[in-house]
Symmetry: D2
Subunit: 207 residues, 4 copies
């Protein structure tokens, strides 16, 4: 059981690796942001948040999905133990960042889910990448998976409300709230589109 192993050396070492992978990924993203600032004179990234899932929420996720809460299942089925979220102003920056991450030779992209091109049923929009990140330790190099979520400011605002709703009602979300949430998602999407158009207009002008 994972519960028994939460204080085990094996579990701590796994968490150390995930935490190391988060640090490496954070550093990479900051370097990418600075390179952008150098070349395009704009920072595409508004802010970055990273988090390690707690043992409790790893267990909860396994149970919710019908798996035994073992250490092995955690490594196998929980992809977002280490998660990093990148918030951009504009949708186009999301794809530019995704391309750059994709082209880094020491990172392996395992999977991509484009919930912007294909939003979830409830209106969720975000770009997800699952990557393998090398972590250099004293005597070996190991790899750990990090889930990267890239979204706009407006998508992130929406997602925080959606999370609050899911957290409160679990799977029993009242019909009318689901409807309102979807409506908000559409306004978010419309706002992002208009703001991007305006931004492109501004950049086109020679002054």
């Amino acid at each position: 059981m994972l519960i028994d192993k939460m204080t085990s050396y094996e579990f701590k070492k796994a968490m150390f690796l995930y935490s190391g992978a988060l640090r490496e990924m954070n550093t990479k993203i900051q370097i990418i942001n600075e390179e952008f600032a150098l070349k395009q004179k704009t920072n595409p990234i508004e802010h970055i948040k990273s988090r390690l899932k707690t043992p409790e929420s790893i267990i909860a996720k396994l149970v919710r999905r019908g798996y035994q809460p073992t250490f092995e299942n955690a490594l196998k089925y929980v992809d977002d133990i280490a998660g990093i979220r990148i918030i951009c102003a504009f949708t186009k920056d999301i794809y530019i960042l995704a391309d750059i991450i994709n082209s880094q030779s020491d990172i392996t992209v395992l999977r991509v889910k484009d919930y912007i091109a294909n939003p979830k049923e409830n209106g969720y929009r975000s770009y997800h990448m699952l990557v393998d990140v090398p972590v250099f330790m004293s005597d070996e190099m190991s790899k750990a998976r990090v889930e990267i979520q890239i979204r706009t400011i407006a998508m992130d605002f929406w997602a925080s409300l959606e999370h609050k709703m899911r957290y409160k009602f679990e799977s029993q979300i009242p019909e009318n709230l689901n409807f309102d949430l979807l409506e908000c998602a559409e306004i978010v999407s419309y706002l992002d589109e208009k703001m991007l158009l305006l931004n492109n207009e501004i950049e086109k002008y020679k002054v």
Copy 2:
């Protein structure tokens, strides 16, 4: 001239006071946020940014307004040398925070401008407070002015684009861009309203 005094002791001392007032105000706001988390189990504040105006931009502001760029004029006419920006998720949190800041007995509120109730012509929405903050030094207590801007995530997103536009075109903003900016401001306002309604709905439900 301010330019001559930029390295003077007098100027450095003034900047030290503004910087101290910013630190004090930052600390206050973090304590308010934690008190909220304690009592309401939610954090009203998404993030806080603070900045000191550089001597260059103080001078630019004075010149733009037709004042001589002297040290005395800087203290007298530039209210936002020390600025702090508080970003909330929901409009209602803005007014709650403003009330709490207003009720702090060691802070003096000098002026309030509610650009949410009365948006600027171009669509700008934000709640501004100008306050006097005590700074305790080794041998005396002094006061320094801080401009506090409180706005929602969506208003802040809009404002960053408006700033970029103003910075690029100065007063010569093309008519069509101004029109688009105003349209975006209305979508922002509509989104904030819808998200707040949905949030209130979620909170009303007993689960």
Copy 3:
């Protein structure tokens, strides 16, 4: 029992106050440091560490001293629930900082212990102040106690080894280790004295 109350609102509110007092005190000390840099062109403070005692170690301290581990006893008998440590390069800076803290009109100094003039038997040197710090909340002003420890870099190095020793052996410290620890304390004290003399020599020279 404190143990029962660890998740109570009453306990959380007390911890919130201690944490707020730490933030306020930290801000004060940073402002003092910047004022110094402005006036003397040197920063007396090398670094600042602050920490809140965990409920577990509050209980342990009460039990060790023969008190019931209740919430009331914690507030009454544990003076260092909120602790802040200031590390200086030179002994003279310790007394300058203590004077400045003492003269702040919004802080009440409750007690002073000068373990530099009067080292503990095992060689421990440090300057301790117990102060009451105002914390401004939304509807009231409250006070919380903070223990301030001011020491030199060398005293701090020694203290970390002394702490490790006490933690390992509790009250059963082998005689020879105690002897070696005292010898180290004397070298520390000698080094601090020599470094201060050299520093004063350097500052005396006009170049």
Copy 4:
């Protein structure tokens, strides 16, 4: 001339690379520290400081050494444009850290200077490594040199005074001060030795 190029893209790109290398190296060292904490239950590292040399001090260094202050000479002759300093409690930890850095497969150690085994004439003790660090950019991988200095708390304290002295007197240090500085270096060395012995004694005991 470097002076002309300080605002050039070429110079900014070089500084971006050095800054990226510092970030990468910082991340590496934090991961090493956490791995240590995991395996030995102690953190060898007290703190880490990193800094980029300003253009002004790069020029000053080139001039002092008799080189033209050109961009090419900066890259060629100034090894410590990007510098990182690791402070440990005990001398033995310095060598353990150096070994680990040395064994990282993506880092190339260009040069080592062991000023602990062979102190400088004035008493300076520290372990220096010059390394090449890979920096992954959007379309290529580049390398940048970082100078790593590893020293104990006591060595670092001494070095800050030595730096102050050198900064004040440049090459004209009064004889008696040089003598006192050397004496302090010997006390530092004696203290480090005694503290390490005591630490080893403490660790040997089974409790």
